[in-house]
Structure formats: structure tokens, C-alpha cells
């Protein structure tokens, strides 16, 4: 945190901040829709609504924290600050799992979207071609990140703008010309899933709302983040929720433009395209857009390309995010210093990039094995009830997100109690005023509701996903073991935290963000608090 360190330039505008978040979170529905329809069937809209309401709570929590602590570390930094080193590590490690899975899942789904126009890329028919393409994309993203090429903010903003317009037009044409409320009611009556499948679908629905780390990432590079971030975040959160609930309602209640039939010639509903079909699960929006009257004639050609680009940008944010979080954790002495190593020529955290891209490639092999090898298929059928690649990735993604978000809610509560001095320009509504250690604080009710919601999704994931149940906790346990080894080697406390000077850190953060009024307010709050303490001493 020394002022001598080079800092990120704060040049992101409100639209840049929105498009940054949108490119990350907005891509999720491109994967989430097909997966949720496959499991939650006639209750998919409810699965999205439940996960969406939890996501609104998470989004509000991130908005408050990112505006109060505008640093790029995101969830990991908030938990480190609120709960200490150990939990900061666990949350950061869960976020690293998410970013790693993000790389594989989004690269995988990007190829799925392309397969809508290029059938030789279909995973079920040409598994080796599909695998090679996904692996190639991971390698390409790795190379681009080591060299230091990131998609420009202008490109990201253009893709986000085209996507927002496109998704809105699909909703408009869909709801105006194809949506029939009686079909929705009929589907919900006839295709309501079992409780187990509904839990499975709900746990997968949360993956449509992952990527809020980008709000913090944007906060680090936005001018006056305390003012800009709340405004853009609220719009981002509601926009994403509208698309998720809108698409799921449309998928269940639309009159198809091109009637679908199964192999026996029986008429099919749209949602029936997804159960047990991994190819379709990865490209839900492309299939839906082709069924929208009139607009679908154009959308069926460009939506697969738009989806592939958006998903690739999101996969790239996985590479970028994992390397930066690992770098940040390493500077906080939560991970070994090797993750701080910078490439001599390109000045990028090359070791981190190689490590997490390598892990993403390993995860890809594990996810693709059942398609590539019949023996592996039999083993997966026997031990994991035949979960296919994209579902396996979705499982782990949901586990990582639910774990890290659970910690963020606890950190929000802890920071409201332990750090009431930091000015919060945006505060989650519905708080209980109370006194804690002699200070007036506000206890956030929404954080408690959000925690219950996200924790229930974590439980759903553990109950219903055979691979997620094993691989997710295994990732956390291996991480904790490595953390203990590292901290013991460095003679640092295992469960307790090192000494941190949060006052200086916060001053530095606010000054660096250009929030000088907030910095003055912070200093005044600290002074008043110190005087109160002195006066209270006998």
C-alpha cells in the first residue's frame, strides 16, 4: 500500500463501470438458462427468481463494500478486513476456484455457441474437436494475458451495448408476439419438477449471477467510486435480474415460431430441448432467440456469435481476475510470494496466469473425459449419476460462488460493527440502529436475509450435485492445508491475523480514489471516536 507503488489509472466512466460489470455478469445467463431449464423444467422461473433475490442482496452488499473500500481485491479483501487472515484466505481461495472454473466453463460455452453455426464443433458428435477448441481458447487467453493484452474498455463497452440492445429486443419480440400466459401456467402445472430437481435447478441458477467481483475491480479504476459505483451497480443488478426472470418466463410460456418435434414426431415444448442434452444446455439463449417471431430470423445468425464473444470476454476476466486475486493474496501473505512474480519483459503476473490457466486446463480434461472416453463415461455414470461436462463445471462454479458470497455477507456485518468510522456513501436499506463497543452502528437485516439465502443455495449444491459435493470441499480443504504449510514456514499465525494498520490503509485508499471529502469525514470520525474512548477511560 506504499504510495511509491504504481497504481491503476482511474479513468473508468459510469458507462465503463456498467459495461465492465455487464460483460462479466451479463454473460452468465447465456450459460445459466439452458442448465436451469434442464433441471428445474417448469419451475425454472421460480429458480431464477429465488436465486435472483439472493443476488440482489449480494449485489447490494458488494455495492456498499466496493463504494466504502474501492480496491480491486473485492470479496477477498472485504473478508480479510472484516474477518481476518484465515477467513480472508478461505474466501479468496473460493473466489480463485470460481475464476478458474470461469475460464473453462465460459471457454467451453463459447465453443457451444459457435457450434450453433458450425456443427463440426458439437461436443456430442465431435468431442475431440470441441475439446481441442476449448483447450486452444484457454491457451490463447493465457498467452494474451501473459503478453498483457486486454480487450479495450471501448470494445467491452460496444459488446455490452450491442448485447443489452439485443437481449431487450429478444424480450420485446418474445413477449409481444410469442408469450402466452396460459402456456406458462400450463407448463408450470404439467412440468413442475421434484423437490430434488428444483434444488438442483436453483443451485445452478445462481451461476447466472456470478461475477460481482467486477464491481470491485471497476471501483479500483473509477474516479469518485463512492458516488459512481452505487449508481451503476443498482442499474446493473436490476438489468441482469430482468433478463434472467424474463428469459425463463419466455422459455416456459412461448408459442414456438418453428414447432419442435422429438424423434418420434411428437410436439415438444421449448424447455424439453435441454434435459440430458449437454450440447443444448451450453447455448440456451441462441436456441431461444431463434424461436422469437420475426426478430429470430436475424437473431439466429448473430446471437451465437455475440454470445461466443461475450463468453470469451468473461473467460478472459477469469484469467485476469484469478491472477490478480492471487497476486493480491500473495501481497497480504496469504499465498506464497511466487504469485507476485512479474514477467521480466511483459510486466504481468505470469506465474499466477500459468498456474490458473493450467488448473483450468486440468478441469477441462476432467469435464470432457466422459465425452472422450467410454470407460470414463461408465465411471461417471456409476459414481456421479452421469453428470456431463457443462453440469460438472456449473456445480463447481455454484459451489465457489455460494461459499465466497456467504463469507462476504458475514464480512459486511462484521465491518458494520467493527468499522463504523469508514464513511458509507451507499448503505444497504433496512438496518437496526444499535450500540456496539461504545459506538453507534447499524445492523444490516438484508445481509442476514442474503446470508440465509446464499447459504441455502450452498446446501442445495452440496445435497444435489455429486461432483460439486466432493470436488468443492476438496478444493477448500487442500487450500487450507497449503495455507497452513505456508504460514508455518513463514512463522506467521495460522488462525489469527498479522498486525494490520487499517486506518492508514483506509486513508490511502480514499486519497487514491480521489474521495478527499470522504477521507476528511473518515479522519473526523476517527478523531471523535478516539476522544469518546479517552473520555470513557477512568
Amino acid at each position: 500500500m506504499s504510495s511509491d507503488n504504481p497504481q491503476l489509472r482511474r479513468a473508468v466512466t459510469p458507462w465503463g463501470s456498467f459495461s465492465w460489470g455487464y460483460s462479466d455478469v451479463g454473460a452468465d445467463i447465456f450459460i445459466g438458462l439452458g442448465l436451469v431449464l434442464a433441471y428445474a423444467a417448469g419451475a425454472s422461473n421460480f429458480a431464477f427468481l429465488f436465486a435472483g433475490l439472493v443476488y440482489v442482496c449480494i449485489g447490494l452488499a458488494y455495492t456498499e463494500l466496493a463504494a466504502a473500500y474501492p480496491v480491486a481485491g473485492g470479496g477477498q479483501y472485504f473478508v480479510l478486513r472484516g474477518l481476518g487472515d484465515f477467513f480472508g484466505f478461505v474466501a479468496g481461495w473460493a473466489i480463485l476456484l470460481d475464476f478458474t472454473i470461469d475460464i473453462t466453463l465460459f471457454a467451453w460455452s463459447s465453443v457451444d455457441y459457435l457450434s450453433q453455426l458450425l456443427p463440426p464443433l458439437l461436443a456430442s458428435i465431435h468431442p475431440w474437436t470441441h475439446f481441442t477448441f476449448v483447450l486452444g481458447l484457454i491457451g490463447l487467453l493465457c498467452a494474451l494475458n501473459v503478453i498483457g493484452v486486454r480487450e479495450s474498455t471501448a470494445f467491452q463497452g460496444t459488446v455490452a451495448a450491442v448485447d443489452v440492445l439485443s437481449e431487450t429486443l429478444i424480450l420485446c419480440f418474445g413477449f409481444l408476439f410469442a408469450f402466452q400466459p396460459q402456456i406458462l401456467i400450463h407448463t408450470m402445472h404439467t412440468a413442475w419438477p421434484s423437490t430434488f430437481a428444483l434444488m438442483q435447478g436453483t443451485s445452478l441458477a445462481i451461476i447466472s449471477f456470478v461475477g460481482l467481483e467486477s464491481i470491485s475491480q471497476a471501483a479500483q479504476e473509477t474516479q469518485r467510486p463512492a458516488s459512481v459505483i452505487p449508481r451503476t451497480s443498482v442499474v446493473l443488478i436490476i438489468t441482469i435480474l430482468i433478463y434472467a426472470v424474463g428469459y425463463s418466463n419466455l422459455a416456459l410460456g412461448m408459442q414456438l415460431w418453428h414447432p419442435l418435434h422429438d424423434v418420434h414426431g411428437h410436439a415438444m415444448a421449448f424447455w424439453q430441448l435441454f434435459p440430458g442434452n449437454g450440447d443444448n444446455q451450453g447455448k440456451g439463449i441462441a436456441l431461444l432467440s431463434a424461436q422469437v417471431p420475426y426478430y429470430g430470423a436475424i437473431a439466429q445468425y448473430y446471437v451465437p456469435i455475440l454470445g461466443a464473444i461475450l463468453l470469451l470476454i468473461s473467460a478472459n476476466s477469469g484469467v485476469f481476475g484469478s491472477s490478480r486475486i492471487a497476486y493480491s493474496m500473495s501481497t497480504s501473505k496469504l499465498l506464497p510470494s511466487v504469485f507476485q512474480r512479474i514477467h521480466a519483459r511483459f510486466r504481468t503476473p505470469a506465474v499466477s496466469i500459468f498456474t490458473f490457466c493450467g488448473l483450468a486446463a486440468a478441469v477441462l480434461i476432467f469435464a470432457a473425459l466422459p465425452q472422450l472416453d467410454h470407460g470414463a463415461r461408465a465411471a461417471y455414470d456409476r459414481f456421479f449419476h452421469g453428470e456431463d461436462g457443462v453440469t460438472f463445471l456449473g456445480d463447481l462454479y455454484a459451489f465457489g460462488a455460494a461459499t465466497s458470497y456467504s463469507f462476504v455477507f458475514i464480512a459486511l456485518i462484521a465491518l458494520r460493527l467493527a468499522d463504523p468510522m469508514t464513511p458509507r456513501k451507499f448503505k444497504i436499506p433496512f438496518n437496526i440502529p444499535m450500540r456496539f463497543r461504545g459506538e453507534r452502528v447499524e445492523f444490516p437485516i438484508v445481509a442476514v436475509i442474503g446470508f440465509i439465502g446464499i447459504f441455502s443455495i450452498l446446501i442445495f449444491t452440496l445435497i444435489t450435485h455429486d461432483i460439486g459435493r466432493i470436488a468443492g470441499p476438496a478444493w477448500v480443504i487442500v487450500g487450507i492445508a497449503l495455507y497452513f504449510l505456508y504460514r508455518r514456514g513463514k512463522r506467521l499465525p495460522l488462525f489469527r491475523s498479522q498486525a494490520h494498520d487499517w486506518r492508514s490503509a483506509q486513508t490511502h485508499i480514499l486519497r487514491n480514489a480521489g474521495e478527499l471529502e470522504l477521507m476528511d469525514e473518515y479522519h473526523a470520525n476517527l478523531k471523535a471516536s478516539d476522544e469518546r474512548r479517552r473520555a470513557a477511560q477512568p
Binding site: L171, P181, L184, H189, G246, S248
Partner: protein
Amino acid sequence: MIPLRVAFYVLFVVLGAIILVRMLAYGVRMETLTGIVLGGLLIALGVYRLTQVFRIGASRR
């Protein structure tokens, strides 16, 4: 840009109102709940953004 934004968010409000009316025609019940929420969200976001756009426009004048 401002007329485009206004048109875009008016579209949100109109679409939200249409969805809301069509869903409410079937009554407030579990099957129509997500549609009612969707309509409400579209109207809320549209109105919120229009207010912001008009406020920015007024401050520029």
C-alpha cells in the same frame, strides 16, 4: 444520445406494463408471480433511468 436513451427506457416501461396487465388478467397466483415481478422490475428500472436521464438533461440546461 439522450433521445435514444429515453426511447430505450420508455420501451422498458411499456413492455413492463404490457406484461403486468397480461399476467394480472390471470389473477395474482403462484404461476403468475414471476411475470408480475418481471413487469414491476421493468417499469421500476425504466422509470428510475428516465428520472436520471431527465435530471442530467435539466442540469445541463
